[in-house]
Every structure is written in C-alpha cells, then in structure tokens.
C-alpha cells in the first residue's frame, strides 16, 4: 500500500479527515486506479459532509475493484448516510456475499435495518455479526437498539452491560445504556450514562439528545410524554397511523357521547380536556419543555443553538396564549379566548417548523408566517368589532388543518 494511503489512514484515526483527503488525492495522482484510495477518500468526504463527492469516490472504488468487499462496504455506508437505505441494503448484501466473515458488514446491515424500522431483521444482522466476533461492541450496541425497540428491554440492558464490560470507555455503549434507561422510565440513571458518554465523546449528538430528554424527563408530565414518544417510536409505521386515526375517532366518539348525555358529560368533559391537552402536548412538548429547561443551570447549556431559537419562538407564541386564556377565564370575553386559541395554534406551527430541517422547514416556516399574519389580522378585526374577522379566522383554521395534514406526510 502506498505511503500516502498509510498517512491518510493515520490522519483518519486522528480525526483529521481534511488532511487525510489531501493525502488520498496525492495517492490517487500517483496511482489513479487504487480502489482502496478511492474508498478511503469516500469515507473522508462523508466525514466532511461532501456527500455527492463521497458517493462518487465510493462508486469509483467499486468500479475499479468490483470483486473487493471493502469498496461495496464503503459505498453502502455512504448511501446509508445519504438516507438511501434501500440501495445501501442491496450494496451491503453484495459486500457480505464477497466477504461473509466480516462482522463490520453485518453491523452496517443492522444499522440500515434500524433506519428502515425493521427491528427483527436488525436484530438478526447484529446477532450474525456477534456470531463472527462475540466481542464486537458495535454489533452489541446495534443488538441492544433492536431489542429495546422490540420491547425486550431487560435483554437490551444486559447486552449493553456486556459491551461495557468489554470496552468501558465506549461512548456509544454508555449512550445506548442511557436510552435503554429512558425506555425503562429511569431518567436519573440515564443521566449518569449520558454524562459518561459525553465525557468520553462530547461530540456524540446521540448522547446529547439523550441527556436533553433525561433532563426534561425529571418533570413528570414530560416523563409521561416521553414514554409515549418512545412507545410510538417503537411501533411500525402502520401501527403509528392506526393509533393516530384511532385516537381521532375515539376522541370524536367520546365528545358526541358527552354532548348527548349530560350525566356522562360530567365525567367525559374533563377527560376530553385532558385528551386535547395530550394532543396539544404531542405536538409541542419538545419546544415547551426545552423552554422550561432554559431556566435550568445545566439544562440551558445542553440545548443546541437551534433548540434555543425554537424555544424562543415557542415562548413568543405561548406567553400571549396564556395571558389570553387567563383573561378569558377571569374576566370573560370571547375575543380573549379566540386570541389565546390563535396563539396556541401558532405555537403548534412553530413546533412543526422546528421539528423539521432543510427544505421542509422552509416550507412550514413560510406557511407559519402566512398563518400568523392571517391570525393576527383576524384577531385584530375581532377586537375592532368587524364582521370580516370571521372570514380571516376561517381561513386560519383551514390553513391549520392543511399544516396538520402536511406535517403527517412531509418527512422530518
């Protein structure tokens, strides 16, 4: 192997992908047909977030040496990072066909299965990897991730404990154990694991997000919501859709029962209020509790810049909503109630917008701004006592329904 490739490998181990990329370019100038150099170049570029270039380099590696499993493995990894999981799966299968004794190939396959929410196949792949190397920490972690999603929480904990015995300074294992603790509704122990994971690797986003959830889960309301989110996360896409539609119709049924029978209504109306609160929280719990975390000394530091911005905007909507609600409750006045509702709806739009990235955030952000303008105009006209207010508010409600439907279809 060329000295330049050796140097590049060393630089990659030292977390210097930009320097490694340069060495590999020089290696390729000496030998443009080196499949290994192309493959490593793809890995460096993937680390540097040069996605298209990484893909091209990986394809070149496979093109030059189609009978080498490493090129296929790297191509699959790059495709996986690009969220092209179906193609990644096909390619990693080819890598396994060429070299069925490499546990890293099975680890990658398990990771792809997890990304497409196929927990059973992910478990199978990780176990195949472990059968090749029982001490492979990556496969053990992936097995644990699959197990916890299949509801086998105790086994998941035991798997990570085993991985931690083998490699106590694995940030990924600590982070996984933290998430396992969260799945078991034990945020205190989760915090310990996340703290350790972040001490070992402060840049592990998976651990930072876990720490954030563990901190928020100190609040019993959020703990309940987190349990719901994690439960939903474990379900398949179909099951999730069935649950959402079921709750929608269930809610309507209870409401009609409460309206038709006043005696039942005494019990059902408070239930309905709780139900609507739950629906509201299912949209807004994340920015709402992030906002509350801003008052926590450590918690405010754990929040990312994006999360802080989202909580600011959310606070800007929810505060007037609370003031309007309080005024409506104490002094009466339909207009205050409408103003509170408009602000609450806008807070949902904020949560939807910041729950997405890239283009879809732009689309929902624009829609939210338009809705805010329509809603504010409607409330303003209502306070001025003009009839046209209702037209604006009707458009506002229709737009909100549109955003809700869109949010269920557009990917995060």
């Amino acid at each position: 192997m060329s000295v330049r490739i050796d140097r590049a490998l060393l630089l990659m181990q030292q977390s210097r992908p930009a320097d490694a990329e340069r060495e590999l370019m020089l290696a390729l100038s000496e030998n443009p047909e080196s499949a290994r150099a192309h493959a490593y170049l793809a890995l460096c570029r993937a680390d540097l977030n040069k996605k298209d270039d990484a893909l091209k380099a990986a394809q070149d590696a496979v093109g030059i040496a189609p009978d080498e499993s490493f090129g296929h493995y790297v191509l699959s990894m790059v495709l996986h990072r690009l969220d092209r999981d179906k193609e990644a799966l096909t390619v990693v299968k080819e890598a396994i066909r060429l070299d069925p004794d490499n546990e890293a190939h099975f680890a990658l396959m398990a990771s792809i299965h997890l990304a497409v929410r196929d927990w059973t196949l992910a478990l199978e792949a990780s176990e195949q990897g472990l059968s090749l190397n029982a001490e492979d920490v990556q496969c053990a972690n992936l097995r644990s991730m699959a197990l916890v999603r299949l509801g086998r929480k105790e086994e998941a904990m035991a798997t990570v404990s085993y991985a931690l015995e083998r490699q106590p300074d694995s940030a990924l294992s600590h982070a996984n154990q933290g998430w396992n603790c969260l799945h078991r509704n034990d945020p205190r122990r989760a915090q310990d694991h996340f703290r350790e994971a972040l001490r070992i690797n402060p840049e592990l986003e998976y651990a930072r997000q876990g720490m954030l959830e563990a901190l928020k889960a100190r609040n019993p309301v959020y703990r309940g919501m987190l349990a719901y989110f994690l439960w939903m996360g474990r379900q398949s896409g179909r099951m999730q859709a069935a649950f959402i539609i079921g709750t929608l119709f269930g809610g309507r049924l209870i409401r009609s029962m409460a309206e038709s029978d006043p005696k039942l209504g005494m019990v059902l109306w408070p239930l309905m209020v709780l139900f609507y609160l739950f629906i509201y929280l299912s949209w807004t719990a994340v920015p709402m509790f992030n906002l509350l975390l801003r008052f926590d000394r450590f918690g405010r530091l754990v929040l990312s810049h994006d999360e802080r911005v989202a909580s600011n905007w959310f606070g800007l909507c929810v505060l007037p909503a609370l003031v309007g609600l309080a005024t409506w409750a104490t002094r009466g006045g339909f207009r205050f109630g409408v103003a509170a509702a408009v602000c609450a709806v806008l807070s949902i739009c904020i949560a939807v917008t910041f729950g997405r990235t890239g283009k879809s955030r732009g689309i929902f952000g624009t829609a939210s701004v338009v809705m805010a303008l329509i809603g504010c105009a409607g409330v303003g006209l209502l306070f001025a006592g003009l009839e046209s207010a209702y037209s604006y508010l009707t458009v506002f409600i229709v737009a909100f329904l549109g955003i809700q439907i869109g949010a269920n279809f557009v990917r995060r």
């Binding site: 000295v3 050796d6 140097r7 490998l9 060393l10 630089l11 181990q13 030292q14 977390s15 210097r16 320097d19 340069r22 370019m25 020089l26 390729l28 100038s29 300074d169 703290r195 972040l198 001490r199 070992i200 402060p202 840049e203 930072r208 000394r297 450590f298 530091l301 754990v302």
Partner: protein, 477 residues
C-alpha cells in the same frame, strides 16, 4: 470547429490560423496562453484540455492547464498536474514556481520554499516578492547589504561574532554546553533563526506574559531562578482555534530569546509514524539539545501525541512513549531546550502530556480581542498605502475574526483596490471604508471550532482544562 475556438478572447489572426490548422498542438498551446493572459480562464482551460486531448504528453499544455486551475482556485487539480511535472528531470522554473505557490496555499511552507529556491536558481527573473516575503523564514538567508541589527539572532556558526558584536555578557553566560551528538546527526529539520519578536505580535498580552515568565526570564536571569531551584526549560502547550497566531507566537518566542528555532510540522510527524522511527524523534531532540538555547516547536502536536486509546489500532504507541520520555529528558537533560507545542484539538492529546515537567503550562490562544485586532491590522497595513483608516472602528466590526481572517480581510480590500488602481491607472490608498466593506464580505472561520470546543468545555472539563474556553464563551456551569 468546437465553440471555444470561437472565443472572443482569441485574437483574430490566431483564430484564422486555428481554422487552417485546428490540430496544431503548439499553436493551440500558444492560443491558450494568450487567452490565459486575458484572464479568460474558462476558455483557456478548454483550449489547454483540447491541446492535451491531441497530445497528452505536452508539458507546456499541462503547465498551462495547471496555471489555469490555480487561477480558478482549483488547487487540488492544479497540484496533481504540477507534482507530476515537478518529478521530471527537466522540470521548468515556471512549474516549480507554481508548485511553490500551491504548497504555500496548502500551508506546506517548507516545501514551498524549497521549490521556490530551485525555481529562482533556474531562472532568477521569476522572483516573486510577495511569495518570498511569505516564505522568508524558510528560505536560505541571502547576504544582506545592510548591517545586522543588534537584536539579530545568533546562529550556531556565528556565535563567536555575536558574542563580541552584541556585548551581551549575560546572554553569553547563560549559553549551555551542547548536547552529546555532533551536528551531523541532523534528522532533516532545518534550524531557523527567526527575526520576529513579541513586538511583531499584535495583542496576546496574557500569552506573552506566560511565555516571558516560563521561558524568557529563566534564560535572562538564571541566577534568580536557580536560587529558587527552578531550571530553565520545560514545555508550553498553546491551543486555540486555527489562524489565531499560535505558530507565529512560537516563532516570535524564539526570536525574543535569540534562540534557534526547530519547527516540527505534521508532515515530519507523519513520516515518523509511518517509519515507526522513534530514532528520528530522538534525533530531533538531540539536535535541539546540541543548539541550546533552542526552541523546539511541535505544530499540530495532537498528531504526534494523540490520545493513546485512539491509537490502539495503529500499534503506534511506542512513538508516543518515546515522545514522553524525550520530554522528561530521560536520556539527556532538556535544560535550555524550550519546548513549545500548538494544537487546534487539545482534546485529542494524550493526558500524559499534561503532567508537570512536560507541557505543564497550557495556554488558550483565543481569537484577538478588539484592541488586539486593531494592533494586528496596524501591523498588517504597515508599509502599505493607507488613508483615513480608523483601526478601532474596523476592529469593532470584526468581532470573532481570527488573525488569519484579518489577513484575508486585508487581502480582499487590497485586491479590490488593485482592481480600481488598474482601471484608473493610478495608485489609490487603502481606506477605512474598504476594510469595512471587506469585513462584510468575509465571515469569521473560527465558529465551527468554538462549537466543538464548547462541547468539550461543557462535558469533558473535569480537570478544569477548558475553563478558559468557558470564560471566553461567557458560559457558567
């Protein structure tokens, strides 16, 4: 005929010639050179490529294409071609000059200086004052027509002359005996004698003070330090975002103590890893010991002293252990050898390096504050035509800019001024508004570094190592 042969940048006569002889490679190269001179780089690139498609081995076309890539900012592509040209026995001076520029662009100043010197040797008319200034510390010293300054740096060969010329008896007294290896054991690192001093470094007062206390005073007042049982020498680790002057500071330290300066860059370090040559590392330390007082500077030291758990797979722990034992001075004393190291990623450095006696002072080099930015801008614009520049106002508008960012800003403003001067045909001085305009166009480059550093300061700061980062970011845990 391809479209690019109808480019408006091709003079009419040459276009006619091309029509008559479209596959004439020398003609094509000549036309491409002509187009290149008009700064129509896209057209020139197409012409050079066309010439190469007809004759893939044409050196002139290759060099022309590389120069075009360079002008277009496609440095990697240019480098690939030029490295190939530079390997040839009959390499041209222009190719070497371009290689030097590319190497300088990539931060490989030593290589750049070597290629530049070779280019000038072949063709002295090719000299580039700007490049020469950039590479001044790496180029072989030319005889100067002026008398040497009293503060000029003593060189091993010039010791005797300096002793009498400077009359600095205390300096003579503190000279320590050389190490036990003869000078021939040079592992390939050139000993420099930097002209820079702290006066050339804008701001960084805290860093200067630390270095003065740890390095300069023990050398200048050895009796005082000896009375307290303190030895001269030891290590300082400078860390901070890239482009904030860590390397510059190290060089200025060597200039300040009038000591030799041995700089070990990442390229030298990588060669050590690949060759598994602990001997090379030992030889570097011995070279430093034989030129006492000497500043031994390790740039990007995390590449050499990477956290040993990170390097388990590479089986390269011996070199780290060797580095540690050299720092400890196990085989020979390090007295009089001042070890400075710089890194952008202190978190990747093995904690063993932080033990007392090794790098026992760890100094955060932040981006310059407002007064420091003003001072840096003043230094950068020294000798350039300026008018109505309110340095304080520019410094105020450049919050978060590193030294390298400020250099980029000045370059941007100068380029704009040059363009205006070329149009107007007269030299126009650089004004404050030009710098402010450039500041709007340039974004500070240290933000990413602080994003990473913030995480380490928040979560991996049990020993308080990164408290300075927390203080700089105004974060309270």
């Amino acid at each position: 005929m391809p479209d690019f042969l109808n480019s408006p940048h091709i003079p009419e006569a040459l276009r006619d010639a091309l029509r008559l002889s479209p596959d004439n490679v020398p003609l094509l190269v000549h036309v491409a050179d002509t187009v290149h001179k008009t700064a129509a780089y896209d057209d020139a690139e197409k012409l050079f490529r066309h010439a190469l498609s007809l004759d893939a081995s044409h050196v002139g076309a290759k060099l022309g294409l590389a120069q075009t890539f360079f002008q277009q900012g496609k440095y990697s592509a240019a480098l690939v071609i030029v490295e190939d040209l530079a390997k040839r026995p009959e390499v041209s001076a222009r190719a070497l000059l371009l290689h030097a520029r590319l190497a300088q662009q990539a931060g490989e100043l030593k290589l750049a200086a070597r290629q530049y010197a070779q280019a000038c040797e072949i063709d002295p008319l090719l000299g580039d004052a700007e490049l020469e200034r950039e590479l001044a510390n790496y180029l072989p010293k030319r005889p100067s027509p002026t008398l040497p300054k009293a503060s000029s740096i003593p060189n091993a060969d010039e010791d005797e002359q300096l002793k009498t010329a400077s009359g600095d008896e205390s300096f003579d007294a503190e000279r320590l005996p050389g190490g036990d290896l003869p000078g021939e054991s040079d592992p390939g690192i050139d000993l420099e004698n930097p002209d820079l001093t702290f006066a050339d470094v804008g701001g960084m007062d805290r860093v200067k003070e630390e270095i003065r206390m740890k390095i300069i005073l023990p050398l200048k007042q050895p009796e005082l330090f000896k009375a307290y049982g303190k030895k001269a020498g030891g290590g300082i680790l400078l860390y901070g975002p890239p482009g904030c002057g860590k390397t510059f500071m190290a060089r200025a330290t060597a200039g300040e103590v009038k000591a030799g300066f041995l700089a070990v860059g990442i390229s030298d370090v990588l060669d050590m890893w690949i060759g598994q040559s602990e001997k090379n590392l030992h030889a570097i330390f011995e070279q430093a010991r034989s030129h006492r007082p000497c500043v031994l500077f390790f740039d990007e030291v995390d590449a050499l002293g990477a956290n040993r758990t990170d390097m388990l797979k590479s089986g390269g722990r011996q070199i780290i252990n060797q580095f540690l034992s050299e720092l400890d001075g196990v085989s020979s004393s390090n007295e009089g050898v001042l070890i400075l190291a710089a890194t952008n990623a202190p978190w990747h450095l093995d904690p063993a390096f932080r033990r007392p006696g090794r790098f026992d002072r760890i100094i955060f080099v932040p981006p310059p504050d407002q007064p420091a930015r003003a001072a840096i801008l003043r230094l950068m614009l020294r000798g350039k035509p300026v008018e109505n520049v309110d340095f304080e106002a520019v410094a105020k508008k450049t919050d978060g800019f590193s030294g390298a960012d400020l250099k980029a800003l000045v370059d941007l403003a100068v380029e704009e001024k040059l363009r205006e001067a070329m149009k107007a045909g007269e030299l126009k001085p650089l004004m404050g508004k030009d710098l402010l305009e450039a500041a709007k166009r340039h974004k500070p480059t240290v933000r990413d570094w602080f994003e990473t550093a913030r995480n380490y300061a928040l979560y991996a700061n049990q020993s308080g190592l990164y408290d300075d980062i927390l203080a700089h970011l105004n974060l309270k845990k």
